[in-house]
Symmetry: C2
Subunit: 345 residues, 2 copies
């Protein structure tokens, strides 16, 4: 079984974006606000909307995608707390409907109603609601300001209520920023990658997993710059009198494989232990086109992994399935309930 | 000849930091401000202060370091424009003295008196002054705010006066942030790397080198996250209908080798063309300790390059010397004047 742990719903029916536009228009002119959060999207429309993802699953030979709302669409920096709460609820409900309609292909991860400057206690009720609906994790935005980084670092106690809830619910967080309203940061080309790099370095500075030994973070986009600069991070940590990163952080921190060329995947899998790498493509995400040099899609990350020589069957299994079951225990439980027990290694 | 293009003066005599402290104390209490910018540092003290760098040059078999003031000490976000101007002048003067006293070991690169929110025209006079003293390049900070990124992106016309002057003077800029006053960003572990990644993505978005075909940027720290995510950047650029990055940016953009482990250097040199990689260590910089796994310093980047199999003698020469002469033409001219003509390839 091949589990892609990082997919976003980027093929929404137009009604969803129209609702969002009305919401934001309503901030300026109350008369324009949506009168109902019932989008009027039918089950058939939802099924039609995810056909591109299903085709890519078939074409590439993957089975299941951990699916969350469009990341750049979370827009935590946009509008008021009430607007964000409504938008989050609606976005998560849509993911829930997809996963209910196509339960063999999608498992749900939620966005949170974060607001810059507002302590994240406001997320706890939505976390509980989502997990009751079968969600297996959340995207947690380290910079709700959208590129100005005005909230405290993620090792600050400010964030602890969210971590307590994640542990209580036994779900991981993927550290994932939303769009950027700072013209310095292109969203998918700078802000996403910087967010990943920034949080990993914060984790070196703090000792978060001493307080939360069961908390699990997935750092997406191949860990930002971290594996490429693994020597720098090991060195900085050692100079701070921290233990080796492998002991200090890698029981709790995992990287996905959203790295869009073979040399990057080779580096990732040679530097980061096999237990900490989870297969992902970021479908349909940052880069949709084909590499003219290979004729294949940049984001067909399975191809890169398949090209790795000397990868043991055990490592392959961990990256494609085993680690996902370990990091997302509620996913594992759902699969087991369906009779998909997974391999024991 | 082996040229290290990225060294900072991080072993200043205490008088220099004491002056800075007085400057900043003077902002709060005018009575504390320094009464003279004469630091009273003797030539002997300066020579003594760079012995650690000279020892590392000898130990590692490098010849010449392109040397600039402590990057995190530039502090463009600290104090007033007048304070920054005085500090910049004094810091550059100190680099000039070092390079005059040890001309076979150091060549000067300057910092600029940048101030957040103040258009960079204020840097032009210092650029001229430094080049008259023999400087061969400048460190240009894309985020004078120190981690809040409040100035325009580097493709904005805001920056054009600096680019015009760089071209007129025939010197490159290393894109280098200073320290971070944003608690989210560790300086050397996040802010530096993010700065590199961010600016490269800005360059994809704009078409700066159409307006400045002779402008040259060095992106340090191995290009931030860029080479690791080269597929992502190629894909994003192609989706923006840009040409291939190799044609579009690599006549003007260069990466250094400040990547502190062998797999990172392998990736850098396999992904980025040999014409665009310049040897550097960031001495004495971000990571001073030894890798307990190898017993060697993390920042001994020459060792990693020396371990690369299948690197041609021509490529080695480019990385260690040829590219530096090409990107820093004033360095090449100085070396030729000394009878060090370099190899023709």
């Amino acid at each position: 079984m091949i589990i892609d742990i990082h997919g976003h719903y980027t093929t929404e029916p137009p009604a969803m974006q129209q609702f969002r536009d009305k919401q934001l228009a309503g901030l300026a002119d109350r008369a324009r606000r949506p009168l109902s959060s019932d989008l009027g999207i039918s089950d058939e429309e939802i099924i039609a909307s995810v056909q591109p993802q299903l085709k890519l699953q078939r074409d590439r030979g993957t089975d299941l995608t951990i699916f969350s709302p469009r990341a750049s669409g979370m827009g935590h920096h946009v509008g008021t707390e009430a607007v964000g709460k409504e938008w989050t609820r609606l976005s998560n409900d849509m993911i829930h409907r997809i996963c209910t309609l196509q339960p063999d292909n999608f498992v749900a991860v939620g966005q949170l109603p974060q607001v810059p400057g507002i302590p994240p206690q406001n997320c706890l009720a939505e976390m509980e609601r989502c997990v009751e609906m079968g969600f297996v994790g959340f995207n947690l935005n380290p910079d709700p300001s959208g590129g100005y980084w005005t909230d405290p670092p993620m090792i600050d106690k400010y964030w602890y209520p969210v971590y307590e809830k994640l542990c209580e619910l036994n779900v991981p967080a993927m550290i994932h920023v939303t769009g950027s309203c700072n013209p310095n940061f292109h969203a998918t080309g700078a802000h996403y990658i910087n967010g990943d790099t920034t949080v990993f370095m914060q984790l070196i500075q703090g000792n978060l997993f001493k307080d939360f030994p069961d908390l699990k973070f997935v750092i997406p986009h191949g860990g930002g710059a971290v594996p490429y600069h693994w020597g720098r991070y090991r060195g900085i940590a050692l100079e701070m009198k921290r233990p080796e990163l492998a002991q200090y952080l890698l029981k709790n921190v995992f990287f996905d494989t959203c790295v869009y060329h073979l040399p990057g995947i080779e580096l990732l899998t040679s530097v980061i232990p096999a237990d900490n790498v989870l297969f992902a493509s970021e479908l349909l995400g940052a880069v949709k086109c084909k590499d003219p040099d290979t004729g294949h899609h940049f984001d067909d990350t399975k191809r890169y992994i398949d090209q790795l020589k000397n990868m043991s069957e055990e490592t392959r299994h961990k990256i494609f399935e085993g680690n996902a079951r370990k990091v997302y225990p509620r996913l594992d439980a759902q699969l087991r309930k369906k009779g998909l027990a997974g391999r024991a290694f």
